[in-house]
């Protein structure tokens, strides 16, 4: 395959959720070639006389790919979670209405969830790759809504126990999650 084909294939399988620019594809191909994971496999000029360089996987590349499919994705490797950080910092910050922060986020995430669901309603039964990617986005959004509901409940309970001020300064129990995020996910 050549660069444009690779990009088209990636985007069709992921429903265009993460658009690639073709420059990214070529730099990546160049790096892979440098590392011996792909090799050029001839050239072809199309009818407009544009030249396409074909690439194929080397044996080392195929092994690397198998390894990638065989390993689980490490959550620590993902970008740090801005929302968890935001909530962690909101609790205990004077003048911040944590409940309002949560409610705004909930509305936003719920809209996102609805919009993904709307897309899903229109996806053809046969387009399994795009359906799976869309389901992944749907479940992530759903998890976020559930987590936000849980946060809201925790805050209500903490407020009830503290007697009145619903969102007094957060003790260590409320800061826990965010501390973990701050300490553990400093990559990128």
């Amino acid at each position: 395959m050549y660069g444009y084909q690779l990009r088209a294939e990636f985007e069709s399988r992921t429903g265009g959720t993460w658009p690639l620019n073709v420059g990214q594809v070529y730099t990546t191909l160049a790096r892979l070639e440098r590392d011996g994971l792909v090799e050029p496999a001839g050239e072809l000029a199309d009818k407009d006389a544009d030249k396409h360089v074909f690439y194929r996987c080397t044996e080392a590349g195929a092994a690397e790919l198998r390894e990638w499919f065989d390993s689980p994705v490490n959550p620590e490797g993902r970008p740090r979670d801005e929302l968890a950080i935001k909530l962690g910092l909101a609790v205990g910050s004077p003048g911040v209405d944590v409940r309002a922060v949560i409610q705004r986020q909930r509305t936003h995430t719920m809209r996102t969830l609805r919009d993904y669901t709307r897309l899903k309603a229109d996806v053809a039964e046969t387009d399994l790759a795009w359906q799976l990617v869309l389901d992944s986005l749907i479940f992530q959004a759903e998890a976020e809504v559930r987590w936000l509901d849980y946060c809201q409940e925790r805050l209500e309970r903490a407020g009830a126990e503290a007697g009145g001020t619903p969102l007094g300064r957060g003790g260590p129990s409320q800061g826990e999650g965010a501390d973990g995020v701050l300490a553990g996910r400093e990559d990128r």
Partner: protein, 246 residues
């Protein structure tokens, strides 16, 4: 199926409050809630237990009356109606789908669906024709002669939806209609609700599952009897993915 009647909302709750009891022990189940559902619209209602979801559904269907405010179904104010007139609106305009206990076990699918029409005074033959139409709209025509016990949970729920929307009924009130179903079947039921609304019905869907509520056009969130959150209606689908890159 869109008609000239679209201007009037199928369901309108205006400044509705419902208080149970009096004095210091009074429970405010709903406080000053306004929600309207147009033809073609599916509105989901979410909220913690005790937030007023069921009260809202009961008021919308005329099963309960508000302490304050108005409820109108297809433009008819329920407040001023006699008991008989109210029962007629309930029968002719509103259909219900619950989590369970939806169908009469001793009747076939077709009989279950034609029953409300026969109660409306429609002749048995005409009611049967309408029932088969309603079953066809939910892809259940072939199982019209089956009894509920010989159907899967998902099939029963499809029949319940057909019954809720048989004849002239256009307002569908659903309370956790996917509660007892596995996720794949539950999703099929939601797709069906969505499709029935897309072809002109209006629906209120009470659910605690965000993934189910996401099939609605709008999600209203209740807490302590008050609407604290409303997603508003959806934008065009084309703009959806612009924010997800990276």
């Amino acid at each position: 199926m869109s008609t000239g009647e679209e201007q009037a909302a199928l369901l309108e709750l205006r400044g509705v409050s419902r208080v149970h009891g009096e004095g210091p022990t009074a429970v405010h189940a709903l406080r000053d809630v306004s929600v309207s559902v147009a033809a073609g619209e599916l509105v989901a209602v979410m909220g913690p237990s005790g937030s007023g979801k069921s009260t809202l559904l009961n008021l919308a269907g005329g099963l309960d009356s508000p302490t304050k405010g108005q409820v109108a179904v297809e433009g008819v104010e329920l407040g001023g109606l006699s008991r008989g007139a109210l029962a007629a609106v309930r029968r002719r305009s509103v259909g219900y789908v619950f989590q369970e206990l939806n169908l009469v076990p001793a009747l076939t699918a077709a009989e279950n669906v034609s029953l409300p029409r026969e109660l409306d005074g429609v002749g048995a033959r005409a009611a049967r024709v309408e029932a088969l139409e309603a079953l066809a709209a939910v892809d259940m025509e072939e199982l019209a002669q089956r009894f509920p016990d010989d159907m899967s949970g998902g099939q029963q729920q499809r029949v319940a939806i057909a019954r809720a929307l048989v004849g002239p009924r256009r307002l569908l009130l659903a309370d956790e209609p996917t509660g007892a179903l596995d996720s794949h079947t539950g999703e099929a039921v939601l797709r069906l609700l969505r499709a029935r609304c897309d072809s002109g019905a209006g629906g209120v869907l009470v659910t605690h599952e965000a993934r189910h509520a996401a099939w609605a056009d709008r999600v209203v969130f209740l807490r302590d009897g008050t609407v604290v959150d409303d997603t508003g209606s959806a934008p065009g689908a084309e703009t959806l993915l612009s924010g997800t890159a990276g």
